[in-house]
Amino acid sequence: MADFEEQLSDEEKVRIAANFIIHAPPGEFNEVFNDVRLLLNSDNLLREGAAQAFAQYNMDQFTPAKLDGSEDQVLITEHGDLGHGRFFDPRKKQSFKFDHLRKEASEPQSHEGEVALRPWRDACDEALRAYVKDHYPTGVCTVYGKTIDGQQTIIACIEGHQFQPKNFWNGRCRSEWKFTISQPTAQVVGVLKIQVHYYEDGNVQLVSHKDVQESLIISNEVQTAKEFVKIIENAENEYQTAITENYQTMSDTTFKALRRQLPVTRTKIDWNKILSYKIGKEMQNA
């Protein structure tokens, strides 16, 4: 069975290892890392070749980070990536080093960010914080003000997770919302993601995402922030409701279409009846 003519090159093996790591379910990075480490059988290869994968994973997942001495958390995202392993915390106007394996922040330094956008960023951050506290039991948010391709853009990121490996489940939701303040009416673009893994005596994952687009009138900082967060709240409520309703639909229709709980007759099959029918039929034909 295992007659591969040539062994895979190191480069290819590392690529496969990195791929497994990037797709680790929320809260299971360490488990996947340890398994992959065994398969690859070379710590140097893993550390050097897959370093980018570790960083990519944390940025994709909106991993929350905390600096010593602060209860407040900041999200690790591509928008805050300053290069050389450092990330930006726009609320605290700081940059810090982030260890992607240990998930630890260190070496804080002051970092200004874009001053012109600060009033908009601050207003959105304040409004969003109140919203997140109101709807996410373990939520964290980070808001950036950045000029991208000449457009002054506000980017809001929200993350909430529950890891309970002792109960064989982990879950995380993330959302990212953007709009530019260059025009009187802006397009708000959002993407919502949910991933849940339940693996007690089995293995089930829910992986879902939704794209949203809404219009937003740009007035002053405070009013715009208020409207922005209202859009977010409505869309995220709608999404969560739809997922809950889908479970019911899935149970009533699709799942039933795959395999019924009971036959249409609503009684379990009587095998002895079928058997005697079969025997009877064959005796007739004999």
Partner: protein, 197 residues
């Protein structure tokens, strides 16, 4: 679910190319989605699995399949053992893709029938199909019913609960107040119990 199933097959290959010595162990312990093949001679679909790579194919009783699955493809492969016979019963049902939902149910039942020496053999009364005798025991497949119930209530129900634990549609403060009250109540009750002891 479809994404996960598809990724799983590729992941198996990825692990195997990294560590070829794991190939046999992996393939025998990880179930891949059943593949459908077509018997052009008879004009019927059948299912592929590890057990029918060599050996005969045999169509199973369709009553069970049609009553529970209302369609689908099934195949049964049987082989002799020293004191009886064994078999695998495969069923594959794909959703019809209506209502923008896609799904697939695969069943793999492996059975072993032991005939003890001295036990009464089924009397041959001109019926060729000896397996009819064993059908009521094989056909029960209670396990499948249990798994289906578990999937519906526990697995799907649980993941829904987890989603609703990550985010609340209603404003939290009310819930938080309720939880605070719960905690206080349970504290009082625990204190009472210690006192009684």
């Amino acid at each position: 679910v479809r994404v996960i199933v598809r990724v799983c097959a590729c992941d198996c290959v990825r692990v195997i190319v990294c560590v070829p010595s794991l190939c046999e162990d992996l393939l025998s312990s990880v179930d891949q989605p059943l593949k459908i093949a077509r018997d052009k001679v008879v004009g019927k679909d059948y299912l592929l699995c590890d057990y029918n790579r060599d050996g005969d194919s045999y169509r199973c009783s369709t009553e069970y399949r049609d009553l529970y699955f209302e369609g689908g493809v099934s195949s049964v492969y049987l082989w002799d053992l020293d004191h009886g016979f064994a078999g695998v019963i495969l069923i594959k049902k794909a959703g019809d893709g209506s209502k923008k939902i896609k799904g697939c149910w695969d069943s793999i039942h492996v059975v072993e029938v032991q005939v003890r020496a001295g036990a009464p053999l089924p009397v041959q009364t001109g019926i060729n199909n000896v397996n009819c005798f064993y059908l009521p025991n094989l056909g029960n497949m209670d396990m499948e019913n249990k798994i289906r119930s578990t999937l519906n209530e526990i697995y799907f129900g649980k993941t829904k609960d987890i989603v609703n634990g990550l985010r609340s549609i209603e404003s939290l403060p009310d819930n938080q107040k309720y939880r605070q009250l719960q905690r206080e109540l349970s504290q009082v009750l625990t204190q009472r119990q210690i006192y009684i002891d």
